[in-house]
Symmetry: C2
Subunit: 352 residues, 2 copies
Amino acid sequence: MSRFWSKVVHDLTPYTPGEQPKIANLIKLNTNECPYPPSESVLAAIRAAASGDLRLYPDPDSTALRQAIADYYGIGRDHVFAGNGSDEILAFAFQALLNHDGPLVYPDITYSFYPVYSQLNQIRTELLPLDDDFTLDLTRVPAHAGAIIFPNPNAPTGKCVALGDIAALCERMPDRVIVVDEAYVDFGAETAVSLVKNYPNLLVVQTFSKSRALAGLRVGFAIGQPELLAGLERVKNSFNSYPVDRLASAGAIAAMEDRAGFEHDRQRIMTSRTWVNDQLSALGFDVVPSTANFVFARHPQRDAGELALALRAKAIIVRHFRLPRIDQHLRITIGTEAECTALIEALKEILA
Amino acid sequence: MSRFWSKVVHDLTPYTPGEQPKIANLIKLNTNECPYPPSESVLAAIRAAASGDLRLYPDPDSTALRQAIADYYGIGRDHVFAGNGSDEILAFAFQALLNHDGPLVYPDITYSFYPVYSQLNQIRTELLPLDDDFTLDLTRVPAHAGAIIFPNPNAPTGKCVALGDIAALCERMPDRVIVVDEAYVDFGAETAVSLVKNYPNLLVVQTFSKSRALAGLRVGFAIGQPELLAGLERVKNSFNSYPVDRLASAGAIAAMEDRAGFEHDRQRIMTSRTWVNDQLSALGFDVVPSTANFVFARHPQRDAGELALALRAKAIIVRHFRLPRIDQHLRITIGTEAECTALIEALKEILA
C-alpha cells in the first residue's frame, strides 16, 4: 500500500506466472512451453532482422505478420490483430470488448489470468461451474451474461469443447462478445477460426508461445471480424502503438510459414502425450483426457502438493494450483521424449 | 461505434504515431529515431540470443536487463523497472500512479500520447500552459494537482527544465507523484535519476528508442524508489507478466554496456543539431533552442503545413502538428550529416 498508488492498484491480486527457475539440468514441465526449439528458418529470419534497421520503429500495424497469419488461415488480413503475446491481446480484449453491463462469464476452473484482468478493469464477473468431470457445458451460459470468455482447450484441465457448441453459443447470444482463447488449440482441439466469418461477435485468440515454440518472443494474435478488431485497435493505439518489435515479427512470420516443422512437432507432442497418459494411468493416476500440450492428473492416494515437492526434489518442476476443486491435481507439460521418460521414472520411485 | 465495444472505447481518440512509410530513399525526419545504427556488439548479442531457448518464456522480471541499467546509473536494481517501450511504461504509470482525486497536470504543448492515456484511464486532467517562448515553468504547477507528468526535454519543443526546478517541485509536492519522461534526455538535458534517492514521489522514464538506436526493439525503463515501482509491477502483472522478450532484452543489455558507442553517436547528433540550428536561422527560421534530437522551428513568412508538403514532395518527411499554438511549427529530427545537408538544401530551394 502506498499513497502514491492509484485506487485500482490497491485492490489488485496480480497473476503469478509459473516460475522460471535458473537451475541447470532442470526438467521444466510447469509452463507449457514447447519442448522442441523453433526451426532453423525462424532463427535465420531473426538473425537477418538483427540489422541497422533496428534503429527504426517497427510497422505499428504489423502488416507483414498479420498477412502471414491471414495466409495460413486463408482469411483476410483485416481479420487479424497482432500483439505482444496473447496475454497483451487478452488484456486489450478485457478492456475493449468484455466490459459491459451484464457480468463477464467464464469457467470456475480456467486460466488464472482472467480474474486478474477483470479486477484491473473492474469488470463484474460470474463463474460458470464446470461439470464434475471438468466438462464445460456452454448451454449453461446464462442469458444475462454481458460477455463470455473461455479457453479451448481449457487450462489447466486440457479438455476441449466441440466447434458446434461454440457456434450454438454464438448463435444464441448474437449481441454478446464471445472470446475463445486458443492458446493450446493446435494439440488436438478444433480452432474456431472457421466460425469467424459467420459470427461478428466471435473473437479467437492464439499465441506463438506454445505450438510455435516462441514463448521467448512474445507474439500473439486475434482473429475476428473488423468491427471487433477496431475495438482492440482503439485500445492498442491508446496504450502502445508499436506492440510487436521487429525481431519478434520476423521470427513469428517465419514460424507461420514453416508448416512442415510445425506439423511435425505438434504430432510428436501429441504422441508423447498419449504415452504419458497411458503411463500415468498405469501408475494409478486419474488423467483428464487432454487436447493440450499438458496433462491434468490426480492420484487418489497421494497428496498433489506432496507429489509436486517430491518431483521438485528430483529436479522436475510441474504446476500445482492451490485452488478450489483442483488442489489435488497436477498440471504436467509434455516435454521431450527423454523428459517424459524421466518424469514417469521419477513418479515410479516416488510412488513405490 | 459498435454494440460489442466496452463503453470506454467509444470515447477514445487514439494516438497517431508518426507515419512509417515504406518508400525507398526517403529521408525520414519525422519520428526522432537515431540516424545511426545500433553497434555491432548489440547486433551480435541479438544473433546469439536467436537460439533454441526462444521456446522458453523470458524472465518475467527482466533481471539481467534491469541490472545492466542499474550498473549504468550506479543504482540498485530494485530501483529499475523495464517494459515493452517507454510507451508501455507510461501506460502503466497513468493507470498505477497518475490517477488520483486531484487532476493530472501536464503542459498544454507536450507529448500527444498523454491526453490519450488520460482518456483511456478516465483521468481528469488540467493543462499547464507553457510560456510564450515554450518555457515550462514548474513553479506554476497548481497546489491542487493530483499528479504531474512532463517530458524533459519537452516534446515537440525540445526545451528542457533545470534539475533544480524538478527538485523544487518534488520538494513542494511531496505527496504527489511526479513523472519525468526523459525520452530525449541524452541529447543535452540533465537526467533526474540522481534525484530519485531523495524523492520517493519521483519516477524517471527513459527509452532505448532514441539515443540508444533501438526503436525497433521496443524497450523502455523507469527509475524510481521501490514503493513507486511496486505500483507499476502490480499493473504489469495484471496485464502481461512477460513484457520484454528475450531478443529485445539481449539487445538492450548490450546497448547499455556499449558506453563508448553511445557517447560517440549522441555527441555526433548534438554537433549536427548545432549545424542544423545555425542553417535554419540563416534561412530565416525561428528555432527553439533544443536539447533533444530534433529541432522545432517556424518560418515567419511561410505556412508550416505548406513547407511540410513541399519537403515531402522532395522525399523528406518532417512532423507537422495541427494543434493550437504550434500549427506554424515543424518538428525536424536530426538525421545523418548527409540527411541534414539534404534538408537544408531542400529548404533553400523551397524558400527561394
